[in-house]
Assembly symmetry: C2
Homo-oligomer: 297 residues x 2
């Protein structure tokens, strides 16, 4: 299959749905909705929502039922980037080649735009119009998975430990693994799992999908660490080498670049291996595992 064409098509589907689900800029408070939309449409690759749709499809589900949840996931991811970029956090001026939210709208608006995106995700997922064919108990299960993956024992917890660990000389593999599996891995795992639940997967398929999501999530973040070293500023849309400059806890920093590359490949293989009971319907997930590790941005 042509993974690039697939990603492009699914990205357009997610973008169009995000546009329809997000509050319009003409709705008050207009400036707040403008700030929310600015970061959502600042060039994201939509990896998480596409993984959710692909997992839904791989288990034989109807992706239109997963689409609102996929968009909610992207809203959560976007809020986390807005808050991560704040002066009190990573203090980044650029993200994906564009000025960060607080550089354009100011710090207070950026905090509130992030808060509002996170909240909007849960409003959307709990809306009666979202996934009307999926039963309410399953929807609650997905909301619970996504909330768990986003909060203090998921993404926010990972971000907190990442911040605590910055510049510390005693960082070891268990800490880096904790940061990666929580900060990035948790949302990716939850995306895949949610797509499978919404698609009606049985226990066996769910377990396989969870294994895929876990491996793909870790592979994604290790690949990100490597890109920060090997990519150019132009390719990755932010300052290359910034992790090292900040003393960030990364795989290459702790185990070296070549061992990190091997670990990313191992995780990619584990992700692909976890799909062995699936047929061609899981090809997009297989190709995405490769893409996650091989991408240049």
């Amino acid at each position: 299959m042509d993974i690039k064409a697939y990603l492009k098509e699914e990205c357009a589907r997610v973008d169009s749905a995000l546009d329809s689900f997000l509050p319009a800029e003409s709705n008050p408070p207009c400036a707040l909705h403008k700030a929310m939309r600015y970061s959502v449409f600042a060039g994201g690759k939509r990896i998480r929502p596409i993984l959710m749709l692909s997992a839904c499809s791989a288990v034989g589900g109807d992706i239109s039922q997963a689409l609102p949840f996929a968009c909610a996931m992207e809203m959560i991811h976007t809020y986390s980037l807005i808050h991560d970029d704040l002066p009190a956090m990573d203090n980044d001026d650029f993200r994906r080649g564009n000025p960060t939210n607080h550089k354009v709208f100011g710090e207070a608006a950026a905090i509130l735009a992030g808060d509002a995106l996170l909240t909007e995700a849960f409003r959307l997922m709990s809306s009666p119009g979202s996934a009307p064919a999926v039963d309410a108990i399953k929807k609650l299960k997905v909301i619970n998975e996504i909330a768990g993956a986003s909060g203090s024992s998921g993404m926010v917890g990972g971000q907190f430990v990442d911040m605590e660990s910055e510049g510390r000389p005693d960082i070891d593999i268990p800490i880096v693994r904790y940061i990666h599996t929580h900060k990035t891995g948790a949302l990716i795992r939850a995306s895949v799992l949610s797509g499978a639940i919404l698609g009606g997967a049985e226990a066996d398929s769910l377990a396989a999908m969870e294994r895929y999501g876990r491996a793909a999530g870790l592979a994604f973040q290790i690949a990100d660490d490597i890109l920060d070293i090997e990519g150019t500023t132009e390719e990755i849309g932010k300052d290359a080498g910034s992790d090292e400059a900040r003393g960030k806890a990364t795989y290459p920093a702790v185990i070296g670049l070549s061992a990190a590359r091997e670990e990313a490949r191992n995780m990619m293989n584990e992700a692909v291996d976890s799909l062995k009971t699936f047929g061609t319907e899981a090809d997009p997930l297989r190709e995405m595992a490769l893409y996650i590790v091989m991408r240049k941005n």
Copy 2:
């Protein structure tokens, strides 16, 4: 009835439930959970959760089913206070007489503690163990109401307009009313409505409860504005007169203190009037409408 004793008892019930629902400080990341708990247990009056329990009880419901949602509401309220107090927002050093979250844990931790509390609220509400006797469709409806009341067309929207309006000389009653009904009113209205839904209220009772919640919410914020002028710093736990010093859009600033007092009383009367078809089971709500306007902190 003795409203003070009632509030004290219900406050203890909510505090104890919050303690059981919030992640323990001994769970990693410990420092993040400590920061979350610090603000939740910094002396809140628990008005919103108590209103939810009282509304549930007034329609004949079982308050144990509403308790997790009541605690989630308090987590959302607490997150909003942590973020409002940040240097980029209101830049407050004290809240309820205690140092604000960012003064104790630093700005980055305060941002993340707020994010995590908001997320935890949705995790708790969607948890299978929460309100097991309430059907899933009703739970989704309550989550949707609370998310709507908390986001860009609710509390966050109100906070955004409040911030935008600071120091502007052209603030009129429609703007102040927008700020108040959104920033404070939305969560109070949603608390009452959610309690009634979880308690199994029919359409008539729901409409009455919504009217009560709307009036009580506006009364609460006008009373807050008046307290900021008339209360002492010791009574209100933050600098008295700070609204005026900041050029905040308040009822007294726009229509004068005496007209603001009358509007608060009108709203209190409307709240009580909306309960006229209820018997003594709604006495706590009636007394709370009075308390909201007459309180000294």
